[in-house]
């Protein structure tokens, strides 16, 4: 093995940070849903891709700025998430059943995307697409930088909400011990609607970032599931910064593996790290 140049290594690490930020952003809503609502929401990925396609449509056909599409997507997705949660509560869907039901929803959303946009590849051409700048020997692409910024900002907002607001304290209390929280006047059902709506809106935000940097195809919904689940589990369920930090650790590890050895070994890294964390710190899950 020949050791790569420092420029190659640094560029690879930066690439890993950026892709890790997207893992973290995709994982944020999933982690909150799993940790606080006890729902393993596979449809989160489908919603993210639906958000990406809507962003593509509004920007490509409607002429909107891709980031401004979030103003449309976030409230709509909040309503979708809350609506789904209402249905889950109405039919008393258990955590295990939520996995099956949301998988079914994922298949339905994939079919819907294929029906509306066909199975062909779609690429959002925007002013951000080509934007980049140099930082010493490093090339910094703007779309990925925006994703990193959004991931940090949203994780911080979730962290502050959970820690400093009545809403956040109520959510944590309901997740910890729902009957006791209810005895103190916490309306668990209403909170669940708000949280599910927020998780869906976060999926929409991740979708906008996906559309900024990636070419879209309906079946790509599934290519992110494994690694994002690993980031969520490594980061700890219901933790605001957990998925982002774990995502960046995974992304950088994969990128360094690709820079130093055979790129085909990279997928082993995320799951090896997950196994190591589960063995060494099982209480994290």
């Amino acid at each position: 093995m020949t050791f790569p140049s420092s420029a190659l290594l640094a560029q690879s690490v930066l690439s890993g940070v950026f892709v890790g930020a997207l893992y973290g952003l995709l994982g944020l809503g999933l982690s909150l849903s799993w940790g606080l609502l006890r729902q393993i929401n596979l449809a989160h990925f489908a919603l993210a891709f639906l958000g990406a396609y809507i962003s593509y449509q509004l920007a490509s056909v409607g002429g909107m700025d891709p980031l401004a599409t979030l103003l449309v997507i976030a409230p709509c997705f909040f309503a979708i998430g809350a609506g789904l949660q209402w249905l889950f509560a109405r039919f008393e869907v258990t955590p295990l059943n939520s996995l099956l039901v949301t998988f079914g929803l994922t298949v339905i959303v994939e079919a819907l995307i294929q029906w509306l946009w066909t199975a062909d590849f779609r690429r959002l051409e925007s002013t951000y697409g080509d934007a980049k700048f140099r930082l010493g020997s490093l090339y910094v692409p703007v779309p990925e930088l925006l994703t990193l910024g959004m991931a940090i900002a949203l994780s911080a907002a979730v962290w502050a909400t959970l820690r400093y607001t009545d809403l956040g304290r109520s959510l944590r209390a309901a997740a910890e011990d729902a009957p006791v929280a209810a005895a103190f006047g916490v309306n668990e059902r209403a909170l669940a609607l708000v949280l599910a709506g927020a998780c869906a809106a976060l999926a929409g935000a991740a979708g906008v970032c996906l559309a900024l940097s990636y070419t879209l195809a309906p079946s790509q919904i599934y290519t992110w599931i494994g690694v994002v689940f690993a980031a969520v589990m490594m980061g700890g369920l219901g933790r605001a910064f957990g998925p982002l930090i774990a995502g960046i650790v995974i992304g950088v590890s994969e990128a360094v593996t690709m820079a130093l050895t055979a790129p085909s070994w990279a997928p082993l890294v995320s799951f090896s790290l997950l196994i190591a964390v589960l063995l060494l710190r099982p209480e994290k899950l």
Binding site: T118, R123, P218, S219, S264
Partner: protein, 402 residues
């Protein structure tokens, strides 16, 4: 005119009109339909290309039925969605034979599904004509007939064609970076290409493999840039080529000469970074291919149908041409033998050549493969044009390098 004459004329006119009304046009097919069964990847990761094959099949069956069908009977095409899953394709082909009781089979899309269908066809002794099988040495069944004319050893023959094309520029590359997906029908071609490059004196300065589904091409692009090759050979399928090009662009790297195995043709030709990209093909929409009236008619129909179906790329290239050729081969065998017997049809195909829109196909070589008709194409001025060999190159087109 006497009454008798007028009466005769009137009777003749009535008889003529009656004949026109009650006698169907001589070419209209009649009788029970000939049922042809197949599956296609209409959903799942291969659906984008599966849709192309569906359009082509529909066009061909309509063309057949607008004439005299097959053997004077109408043709019914039963196509099922295998969801891009080879295991499901196997079940569905079993179903087509045993439950739907189709007369003939047409292959599904992509190597994995075709291999599954081939196993079923072999079990029931059915002939299988298919259009997109990528690993010729795995096709052992004696009644399979490939219409993607790769030849029996494409890793060797096509790579030599590619190197010949590069040599034709007068400035052949001295070094190559081979970077490839581990997707089966890609990987063996890349490994074969490495051997050919070695034999042809092109020094390999980098060899990398990635798993299909890789998301981050940044480190791979950085390693290619670091290796400074004259020529980048990318064993990519679908979007992977564009993903690598995007990653290269982000670090301000433009490969001097770049080749992609099976790129998504639309996205590659539309991307500014795809300019001068090389790839393999069996058909493009320019002479000499368009000199064939059948091809010209098909291109018009396909362009219109693809646009109506909302496909972003409406051009006829390898996929659509191989698919159309498969139907032409089936049509030719049935018409020549006047039979639907799989043994009779297969025996005829083994002995005869069939003219198709991609050229003349034969099936008498190893594993029923004939000539390697793969050509080298390049993105020039926003469109794919064949640049090598000279005799099939687009008028005035030559391989360009930076």
């Amino acid at each position: 005119m006497s009454i008798v004459r007028r009466s005769i004329a009137a009777l003749a006119a009535i008889a003529g009109a009656f004949a026109l009304v009650v006698t169907p046009a001589a070419a209209a097919p009649s009788g029970p339909p000939i049922r042809i069964g197949s599956t296609l990847a209409l959903t799942g990761p291969l659906a984008a290309t599966g849709q192309v094959h569906k359009l082509v099949g529909e066009i061909y069956v309509e063309q057949l039925n607008a004439k005299n069908g097959l053997l004077g009977r109408p043709v019914e095409w039963i196509v099922k969605d295998d969801q891009s899953k080879p295991d499901l394709a196997r079940t569905l082909y079993e179903q087509l034979i045993t439950v739907d009781k189709v007369d003939l089979l047409m292959g599904p899309y992509a190597t994995g599904a075709i291999l599954s269908a081939m196993g079923v066809a072999q079990r029931y002794d059915k002939m299988l004509i298919h259009h997109t099988f990528g690993i010729p040495n795995l096709a052992k069944y004696d009644k399979h007939f490939p219409t993607w004319s790769l030849g029996p050893d494409p890793a060797n023959t096509f790579t030599n064609t590619l190197v010949d094309a590069l040599a034709s520029t007068g400035k052949p590359p001295k070094t190559v970076a081979v970077v490839t997906s581990k997707f089966p029908s890609i990987h063996f071609m890349a490994l074969g290409a490495r051997e050919v490059f070695k034999k042809r004196g092109i020094q390999e300065v980098l060899f990398l493999e990635w798993e299909f589904g890789n998301r981050d091409f940044g480190p791979i692009a950085a390693r290619v840039k670091d290796a400074k090759p004259d020529f980048v050979y990318v064993g990519a399928i679908g979007l992977e080529g564009n993903q690598l090009l995007d990653a290269m662009k982000k670090i301000d790297y433009v490969p001097p000469i770049h080749y992609y195995m099976y790129p998504a043709p639309g996205p590659m030709v539309k991307s500014p970074e795809g300019n001068l990209a090389l790839a393999g093909t069996i058909f493009e929409e320019h002479p000499p291919y368009t000199s064939n009236p059948k091809a010209e008619e098909f291109i018009k129909l396909f362009n219109a149908r693809a646009a109506k179906a909302g496909l972003p790329d409406t051009a006829v290239d390898t996929q659509a041409a191989a698919s159309y050729s498969a139907w032409q081969v089936l049509d030719a065998a049935v018409t020549a033998t006047k039979s639907l017997d799989d043994k009779v049809l297969a025996a005829w195909l083994k002995k005869n050549h069939v003219g198709t829109i991609q050229g003349t196909l034969r099936f008498d070589g190893p594993n029923n493969y004939g000539d390697d008709l793969m050509r080298v194409k390049q993105v020039q001025n926003g469109r794919w044009v064949i640049v090598w060999p000279k005799e099939v190159a687009a008028p005035g087109a030559k391989l360009q390098t930076r």
